[in-house]
Subunit: 457 residues, 2 copies
């Protein structure tokens, strides 16, 4: 008999259906056994009685027998009748809460081994290392899975907004001949007989594509060989990048703020149930306040008593406090910080013409953490060559990149959203590792690596 | 004055507009100079006369003067009046062919260096190595750019179809602790103090996600360190992957054939102008013929006189001939070939239960080349462990992967489309390098590497 998807059972009350899925939980109630069965569309309650057959094993079986046979994560095919639940047993929290299936027969298609931990509760109460050691299993828990439904919503809404803005989607390489921005934190590849690197960002390539498409976006991987472990960094991250030609510093901020708000709106509308599972507060986004770094540090001093006014960047604590301040003062979960010192920024960042000590750069903070970074770029060829040199790099290593500027480059700029960080902040996760299906860091590539962090430089 | 996008000039006849863009061509006609100006929305003809001002350089300038100032790829801001063209000068090949701009003033925002080759003709007549040596410039040519508008259409239609099929979009890692499928053709990374590899495909990860989402898709990079140079292989490619739970061999073929047809339909509708530029023939896709490898080799013997019946795979010539045959005999630009020898396939491929010498595998050929490959997978844990061992690999290296099978895995399978190969075949490009914005191979990472191919093993 043809498969019925679990969500579609709502339209099949009184009919016999065949469903396929995974056993989520079982609850023994004496002569009756309840199973929660899950497929890609949702979850349904299945009632197993003494009349239920267990196909392939025995013709008729008691629920006691079934209780011994069927266990969580088994893959099953169940034939049964869709019934309305009695009014007092309706579960309003799930889309199939008004129905249940009375099982005629059950077949186990794939038997799961005994689980190392209970998967049936509303939350997986595991420490992060355990959660990740068992990643392919822990991901099956509905609350963990929800994280990646939010991820899907973010990816899809980012693309939609970019398309509306007239951006062309591009595919950029992740193998490069030189490091993107200088610095040592780059992974080296043995590239045939040569050395090559994993790109630290799609930065140079998206810039090179401005004279081709004027506006581009790409969702791609970025790699950072940072030999440290924090709750906010991964060795392999997913970036959502844009680059715009014929634009100005102010317009760039308008654009990324509107993209951020669109994404958050979309997620709040499309992922209500998932956000609820995480107890995520509604995100507020009125007019997003914009401060220069120095103004922000002034706020930090005044409101939180820390004098960081000589620092070239915000500290993690500053980011948290500024977001608290923005929420309190401007009723906004976002805040933009601009004008980081030019010397602390990559070579392609445009110095502020009014004061070249500071740059036309910006970060977007969201609920306590930076989720976006970008700038107006230097678009003059000569100025760019000089900037590369003054950063201690060789323009010859940027031959293909510089070519884009040699043959007509408009004023341009862009920005980059960190996907995992956005997910982490939207759901209030404690660690960015929870926001990646298979996180990479110096301690782990699926399985734990044998690393002694204290010995690392 | 606010910018008007070039395409929107169609609605501004009689008005003064400000446009921004790149000079595509200039044609001197004595006292008048014609410029073709391009922005992200299209191209427009601009008429420069003796009354046109050149802002920032001189107040009033003659066209002769302008002729010296303005050259192709210059970035300009032009203010002028939108006029209807005389009927006999209408250009029906472009969306703005009924109008032109009479320039009041022109400002050069970024001056291009003299071009190394003519960018003004309908085609860039460059050898491939030159085309790639000048990649950031050659990409600006409208006909080259068109390749990547087709790419965009393919990416977007693949996602749309997958979403309709109930697939969840997932992000999979590209750094792995062991090679995906064995074999030596893998790039090694220095991963902190460890060795790691760039994934040869998202294969293992998409399978691991079937028990989580049941149906998944991902568009991701795959890396092959193949020390050879062909017209059909790159070191870094983009794959469009799907994996489906609760499915059968026949259903998998139905699914990928329908995805392929949807993508091609979408591109033919959305990218008509681009396909026309390449003189691409309309793609025909009636019922797609399916042959086993041995049947296909029978056709090769009968129709083309080559006896390859003992080969474990099709040769490139076989692929071309089979496609010719499918077009002639079945009026289809696609043909599916199934049942490759089990021994020649990766460990996760399901042997045919009727004859385990052959496997439940398939390739989709399109206009002469394989663009998709996949199979029904082994979903039984013990069988999979045995298969890993019999392929000379250690199940311990697949701990996280095997976990997915240990805890309930339904019958499942999937496939992978090669993005660059699809683009190449749709447009009839001679070399896959033309189908990647920044192609990677053993000879080139943007700039040419110093490689002596004859000395390679």
């Amino acid at each position: 008999m043809e498969r019925t998807l679990i969500l579609d059972c709502n339209d099949k009350v009184g009919e016999i259906v065949t469903i396929y899925g995974w056993i989520q939980t079982r609850r023994d109630h004496g002569k009756i056994l309840f199973l929660d069965v899950l497929d890609r569309t949702g979850l349904i309650q299945v009632v197993v009685s003494q009349d239920t057959h267990l196909r392939g094993v025995s013709k008729v079986t008691s629920s006691a027998h079934l209780g011994g046979e069927i266990s969580p994560q088994d893959v099953v095919c169940i034939i049964g009748k869709v019934n309305k639940r009695p009014t007092n047993l309706v579960n309003k929290n799930i889309p199939t809460g008004e129905i249940e299936i009375s099982a005629e027969s059950i077949e186990i298609l794939s038997k799961a081994s005994e689980l190392p931990f209970d998967m049936g509760g509303p939350t997986l109460n595991l420490e992060l290392p355990t959660l990740l050691d068992w990643r392919t299993l822990s991901l099956r828990h509905p609350k963990i899975k929800a994280i990646f439904k939010v991820q899907e919503a973010l990816l899809s809404s980012f693309r939609q907004v970019c398309q509306k803005l007239g951006c062309t989607e591009v595919v950029v390489p992740t193998i490069a001949a030189s490091s993107t921005e200088g610095g040592a934190e780059v992974f080296r590849i043995e590239y045939f007989e040569h050395k090559a690197f994993l790109t630290q960002s799609p930065q140079l390539y998206k810039q090179m594509l401005v004279p081709v498409f004027e506006r581009v976006f790409t969702i791609t991987k970025a790699y950072r060989a940072e030999p440290s472990v924090t709750t906010r960094h991964l060795a392999e991250v997913t970036q959502m990048d844009c680059e715009f030609g014929f634009t100005s510093f102010d317009e760039l901020m308008d654009i990324y703020e509107s993209i951020a708000i669109s994404m958050v709106e979309h997620v709040q509308n499309s992922s209500k149930l998932y956000l609820k599972e995480y107890g995520a507060e509604e995100i507020v986004y009125n007019k997003i306040p914009r401060l220069t770094l120095r103004e922000a540090q002034e706020v930090i001093l005044k409101e939180y008593g820390r004098d960081n006014k000589k620092e070239k960047d915000l500290t993690p604590q500053d980011e948290q406090d500024l977001c608290k301040w923005a929420k309190k003062k401007h009723n906004s979960d976002f805040i933009t910080v601009t004008h980081f010192p030019t010397a602390a920024k990559p070579f392609y960042t445009m110095p502020d013409p009014k004061n070249s000590e500071y740059s036309l750069s910006y970060d977007l903070l969201f609920k306590g953490i930076e989720i976006l970074s970008g700038s107006q770029r230097i678009n003059d060829y000569q100025q760019l060559v000089e900037s590369i040199k003054s950063h201690g790099m060789d323009p010859k290593d940027f031959e293909m990149y510089l070519m884009a500027f040699k043959y007509g480059m408009p004023p341009e700029g862009g920005f980059s959203f960190g996907l995992e960080r956005m997910i982490m902040q939207i759901l209030g996760l404690a660690n960015i590792r929870e926001a990646a299906l298979f996180p990479r860091d110096m301690e782990r590539v699926d399985i734990r690596l044998n690393v002694n962090i204290k010995n690392k430089k």
